[in-house]
Amino acid sequence: MILEELKEAVMEGDRELVEELCQKVLDEKINPVEAVENGLIKGIEEIGRLWTEGEMFLPDVMMGADALKAGLDILGPELSKAKAAGDAKEGKGKIVIGTVKGDIHDIGKNIVAAMMTAAGYDVYDIGFDQDAAAFTNKAEEVGAQIIAASALLTTTMGEQKELVACLKERGLRDKYKVIIGGGPTTQGWADEIGADGWAETANDAVSLCNKLLAG
């Protein structure tokens, strides 16, 4: 059963096996929508469930998210065709995430990205040391709903404010929900700079996205 194997491979965080199986999906002309929705996604959902129950840990979640991403990269073109034909469900939402300019701390950001992926979001991680324009351009390019900016230093928090200012300047402020996080940040800081939300932990970040998109 290839669907079950895909699920298991994601749960194991076995990127190579996922790639191999996805190639098989293409080669044997197996329905890619099935492979994603009843294979890969089932795996990441199961990881999310076990993580919530305290039976899985960060390496499980992050490696699972990586494996999922590798699979989606291979099945992507076929999936787009299916989406265009209306055969596939749209994802939960698109999120652009990154660490702000001048800041090279990206572990927390990576964890948040993995949690968002595990929660079913399409996550576009632009990496670290990224300026406001890089966040904005990526969001425009992929048609995101949420922009998430991380800062670990008191000296780089100001860049989160820059992001909000940049969006305003380009007349795009209302188009995106901006969320922020990172060690020295607070809800007070989010309010001060006019961000739409703040979260202290990766789990809270996912709940925040759910809430913002439901609203």
Binding site: W51, G54, F57, L58, P59, I104, I107, G108, I111, T154, T155, G158, G183, P184, T186, G188, T201, A202, N203
Partner: protein, 476 residues
């Protein structure tokens, strides 16, 4: 060597970690994001590819051997000079937290007022050997120039040794410029270190531009530095503690090698803030059995290299002054002091893994540190302390309370608590104060009793003018 010496690794373990670090330095190399540092190391014969520096093991060993075994930090008031190394331990307040947690557990951004309060407490508190560095982030001051205000405050309001700015070569230069006139000019500084600065590596295996720039500037003036690595086992280093130590050791050796290349004999302290990652959330956890083991191992590694050591602190992941804060901080101070660490940054005040400072926690940690310093002193065994004469005199069934031997010896033999409650139940139950409430009374009293040590008016004016000029430059 002190009679109290905690060892958690064998000599063979140390040798294996050392060899692994040398192998990492040679084969994987260190990413050095500061061009002048890459140049200096290249000139010294290291192989360089882009910004990756591959260290020659023999060169590393030679350079590390050039660092002093111990040194004295000179204070504005000589009674506060601090010897760093040997069996001595210097306690230094918490450093760099952007928040304060008030009694009761309410967290808020720290301010300049907090900075000044903590500075006065550090100056007043007997257990603190230095006044410290960035005691808390003064969030209400311009972040580009607040280090200047912070440095000035230490010089002006305390006569204990301070920690310098690691804000790039400029921060280091400003630190030197501010201290030189206080200590008789720049040439005098080269003869005696008057400031010690925290230089952090970036794990795994990187030296960033800002800290490395500061490192080279301080080395030029032969001022002391703690070169410290913070490996989070499980995320920025291997989950296995031996591997985490190998990574930490490679980074610190690279930093020390660079400092000794710039200026042989520059006083350096082998530093570690390494700990573990909470594998559920990815957050750092700084007070646990593994962290205590890393701390003690660091002391053994530093001793292997013959260099003073920094590790540990009054560390906790707790968010308030509670049982967890108490037992974790006690563990994280006990381990380094008994293992022979010489410089303990974050001795007092820290809550929530370095993110917060607490006035009450400051007092509690100072008490723990005092108890452990006493423990480290061990038991003197000699004719006087064996007390044969007085035991003979008192004889069976008597008591020692009225003996001159007791009166003479108890004050040095037994440490008197500042915070711990030793009252009877009846005495305690009149107010039923918790540790936190009692600590609040202690710090408020200490602050009220603070006396300004003063500073020459002309010198004050000179320093202020320098700072104003620098602020104009930086903010223009």
């Amino acid at each position: 060597m002190s009679k109290v010496t905690l060892k958690v690794l064998t000599d063979e373990d140390i040798r294996q970690i050392h060899n692994t670090s040398l192998q990492l330095l040679q084969e994987v190399g260190i990413e050095v994001e500061y061009e002048p540092a890459v140049e200096v190391l290249k000139e010294a014969g290291m192989r360089v590819e882009g910004r990756r520096v591959f260290f020659d093991p023999a060169y590393v060993e030679k350079k590390v051997a050039e660092a002093p075994h111990d040194f004295t930090l000179y204070a504005r008031d000589p009674k506060h000079n601090v010897h760093i190394g040997g069996d001595d331990v210097a306690y230094v307040p918490g450093y760099g937290a952007p928040f304060v947690i008030d009694a009761g557990g309410n967290r808020r951004p720290s301010t300049w007022e907090d900075y000044m309060n903590l500075l006065k407490l550090a100056h007043m508190c007997e257990e603190m050997d230095l006044s410290g560095g960035m005691l808390v982030e003064p969030n209400d001051l311009d972040d580009r120039t607040r280090y200047l205000d912070a440095l000035y405050a230490h010089i002006r309001y305390s006569t204990k040794c301070l920690m310098g700015s690691s804000y790039g070569a400029d921060g280091a230069r400003d630190t030197i410029e501010l201290l030189a006139p206080v200590f008789g000019g720049k040439d005098a500084l080269k003869e005696k270190p008057v400031v010690i600065t925290l230089i952090n590596t970036i794990s795994p295996l990187k030296l960033d531009a800002r800290q490395t720039g500061a490192l080279m500037e301080y080395a030029k003036w032969k001022q002391a530095m703690v070169i410290a690595s913070l490996v989070m086992a499980g995320s920025t280093g291997p989950a296995t503690l031996a591997g985490a130590l190998a990574v930490q050791n490679a980074e610190v050796l690279a930093g020390i090698t660079l400092a000794q290349t710039v200026n042989p004999g520059t006083p350096v302290v082998y530093g570690s803030a390494s700990s573990i990652t909470d594998m559920r959330t990815g957050s750092v956890s700084i007070a646990n059995a593994e962290a205590a083991l890393l701390t003690a191992s660091t002391a053994q590694l530093a001793r292997f290299y013959g260099i003073p050591c920094r590790a540990g602190g009054g560390l906790t992941d707790s968010k308030t002054v509670d049982g967890q804060a108490g037992y974790e901080s006690a563990l994280m101070l006990m381990s380094p002091v008994t293992a022979g660490v010489n410089f303990i940054l974050h001795t007092a005040g820290i809550l929530q893994y370095w993110l917060c400072m607490s006035y009450e926690k400051f007092i509690m940690d100072a008490e723990i540190a005092g108890v452990i310093r006493r423990f480290k002193r061990s038991i003197d065994v000699n004719e006087n302390t064996l007390a044969l004469d007085v035991i003979r005199k008192v004889g069976p069934g008597g008591h020692f309370l009225t003996q001159i031997h007791t009166k003479r010896n108890h004050k040095t033999e037994m440490r008197k608590p500042v915070l711990s409650d030793r009252q009877s139940y009846e005495g305690w139950s009149k107010e039923k104060l918790t540790t936190e409430q009692q600590a609040a009374r202690v710090w408020k009293k200490m602050l009220a009793e603070y006396e300004d040590p003063g500073l020459d008016e002309a010198l004050q004016k000179h320093l202020q003018e320098y700072i104003e000029a620098r602020k104009r430059e930086i903010t223009k």
